[in-house]
């Protein structure tokens, strides 16, 4: 083997919320753990780095809406039934009370100064199950706990390029490189957990066509999906895109904050689209409001604004309290834009993305223990199918740290395939050997341009087939991409991983020959605008990659859920005018 091999019982790739929790749990179960992240410090790496303010969880404190059973029903509904509840329950739902204790033990306060839980409702939750907490430092607290745990070693500044398999097909390690020095690194481990977040930089999220202008951090790209697919794992539901409403120019979560403060959504004609009804004395928004905004824009009545100018000065001043950790730079953005909320409406625009969000069932497919189809390879956090936002990342990391440690303890000693590692070393470093050719940015831009045009919000068979052809050709062009330093090498590999994901996403978008929407995700085929429930309700398409092309298969939906849905479609809240029209719900 070339160079030193870094050894551990459990290797965790990705040091965000799920990765840090998994590392702690694996070590507490007795495993030695190596945690790698491409950020040099995991203190604030990942999507939650700047802080979070909401944790969607039941607490089982006696109210009928506050139980794991109701939570599971809600979760299955908002995921359109496209999630295996036999996996979601043990991995994402049942551990939540233990996860809350884990957070409090880690120094993350979940209760307010009076010792009470502060919980709010959303239009789409079965009750006030959204726990508001001071999560400004949730990531530093979890990172500190990981660093302070015996047997956890954290290695930053490493971009992972492959999961390594032994001759039986079991995951026994990984490879990567130092993003500054370009040193190639080999890891040997009894079990590998990939927790690199969801898909970003697939299409241009923003109408600005700036790939780094995203809501979640753009840097994880689709690396986790590619690592898993190259090793033989599959991903589910990656054809679905999410749509959100963000301030024009800056993707930040200000919409809910302004609306809950009393702001009104108005269209370009100055007409009120929506303000929030009072429900039990509080304003609650649902993501259906994004659909209403989308409807206005698509009907030519954009742009849309959130107008707070009618609010009394005291309420305007209080908005800074609402804009907590969801939108930390929003007030600076307004100030630098010269916008005064008491005098000017704020323009918002639609962002489309391949990322996951609350209730999204997309991700790498895992079983109830978090293991993918590849023995010894686990997926956690936003990358895994049943994870939804913060709660899912915490819960899956909590369970999988333990199950991966158990796997490593009972499995045979891991043996790397030296020739496979050598081949991966050549592939990894090849862009450094070229001094001319295609720059990573041009290569990535071409992928994003293609995906935005043909696999973005509006899709049809011809466009999808054309995209698939282009993407095959772009595989060869990857051999012309050059990199001048470690940073560029990282971006080049992110782009290679994007192309692999793009091929899988394009194939499943072609396969699902219908249109389907939930309250915040959708798949719209202009050539198949209706939902085909008989064939597709609750059916996920799974995508793998055999090295040459995507390989697809279908799941069988949970029979009871499917029957209930066919009986009463109103359970699924559809996205606004367009979704409802397309699904045949309105004329």
């Amino acid at each position: 083997m070339d160079g030193n091999v870094i050894e551990s019982d459990v290797l965790v790739i990705g040091g965000g919320i799920a990765g840090c929790v998994a590392a702690v749990r694996a070590a507490e179960a007795g495993a030695s753990v190596v945690l790698v992240d491409k950020t040099r410090s995991v203190r604030r790496s990942g999507d939650a780095g700047r802080g979070l303010a909401f944790l969607t969880t039941y607490l089982d404190l006696g109210e009928p809406w506050d139980t794991p059973e109701v939570f599971a029903e809600w979760y299955c509904d908002i995921a359109l039934g496209l999630v295996d509840m036999e996996v979601a329950r043990p991995l994402g739902i049942e551990p939540l009370p233990a996860v809350c204790r884990f957070l409090e033990e880690s120094g993350v306060p979940l209760r307010n100064a009076d010792g009470d839980y502060e919980r709010v409702g959303r239009m789409w939750t079965p009750g006030p199950i959204v726990l508001k907490f001071d999560g400004a430092d949730i990531k530093p607290r979890l990172a500190e706990r990981a660093a302070a745990t015996d047997r956890v070693r954290i290695i930053g500044g490493v971009h992972a390029t492959s999961v390594q398999l032994d001759d039986t097909g079991r995951a026994v390690g990984a490879t990567g490189f130092d993003i500054r020095s370009c040193e190639f690194l080999t890891f040997r481990a009894g079990a590998v957990i990939v927790a690199t977040g969801n898909a970003e930089r697939v299409i241009f999220n923003s109408p600005r066509r700036d790939a780094f202008h995203t809501y979640h951090r753009p840097y994880h790209a689709t690396t986790g999906f590619a690592l898993a697919a190259r090793a033989g794992a599959v991903a589910a539901n990656i054809e679905f895109l999410g749509t959100f409403l963000f301030p024009r120019g800056f993707a930040t979560g200000a919409m809910g904050n302004l609306l809950e403060a009393g702001g009104r959504l108005v269209n370009g004609n100055g007409q009120l689209i929506a303000d929030l009804p009072d429900v039990e004395g509080e304003r609650r928004f649902g993501f259906g409001i994004v659909g209403k905004a989308a409807g206005e824009v698509l009907a030519g009545r954009g742009p849309v604004y959130i107008d707070c100018t009618h609010l009394p000065p005291a309420e305007i001043a209080a908005i800074s309290d609402y804009i907590s950790y969801d939108a930390p730079l929003f007030l600076e953005f307004l100030e630098q834009s010269g916008i005064d909320l008491s005098r000017h409406p704020v323009e918002f625009e639609l962002f489309n993305g391949a990322w996951s969000a609350t209730g999204s069932p997309k991700g790498v497919v895992v079983g109830a223990d978090g293991q993918t189809r590849v023995p010894g390879l686990f997926a956690a956090g936003d990358l895994a199918t049943p994870a939804y936002a913060l709660a899912g990342s915490l819960a899956s990391g909590y369970v999988i740290g333990r199950t991966a440690a158990e796997f490593a303890r009972s499995a045979a000693a891991p043996v790397l395939d030296a020739s496979a590692v050598a081949a991966e070393r050549r592939r990894t470093l090849a862009p450094l050997n070229r001094t001319s050719g295609i720059g990573w940015r041009e290569y990535e831009h071409q992928l994003q341009d293609l995906m935005t045009k043909y696999v973005g919000m509006d899709r049809n068979e011809i466009g999808l087939r054309q995209a698939a052809e282009y993407l095959r050709g772009y595989a060869a062009a990857a051999g012309e991409v050059h990199a001048g330093n470690g940073h560029e090498l990282m971006r080049a590999h992110e782009a290679f991983d994007l192309r692999l994901f793009d091929e899988m996403m394009t194939a499943v978008a072609l396969e699902r020959d219908e249109s389907r929407f939930s309250f915040l995700m959708g798949h719209y085929r202009t050539d198949r605008p209706g939902a085909d429930d008989q064939r597709w309700l609750g059916v996920s398409i799974l995508a793998g990659h055999d090295g040459e092309q995507p390989v697809l298969e279908h799941t069988v939906p949970t029979p009871s859920w499917r029957a209930a849905q066919l009986e009463n479609r109103s359970v699924v809240e559809l996205v606004g005018e367009r979704g409802a029209r397309l699904a045949g719900k309105v004329g």
Partner: protein
């Protein structure tokens, strides 16, 4: 510009380059060349929060900033 480093306050301690999730910040060539990849900044605010010297401001680029609109959309009604 994304992060703007105040050279009078920056001590080149390197914390910002360690916490930057995009590897945007590099301290090896000093303050003037520290923001090495501004086009890849995602405005996550982590460098500013972690800077012990308070030397970082986040500056939105000209094209990101909105213009305050001088004509208000008509007052919304509740009809």
């Amino acid at each position: 510009m994304a992060p703007r480093i105040n050279e009078n306050l920056c001590t080149l301690c390197g914390i910002c380059q360690d916490v930057c999730p995009g590897d945007i910040l590099h301290i090896d060539r000093g303050v003037a060349e520290m923001v090495r990849y501004p086009d890849e900044c995602s405005y996550c605010d982590v460098c500013r929060v972690e800077c012990p010297a308070g030397a970082i401001d986040i500056e939105f680029t000209w094209s990101m900033r909105q213009q305050p609109i001088s004509i208000l959309p008509g007052r919304p009604d509740h009809d």
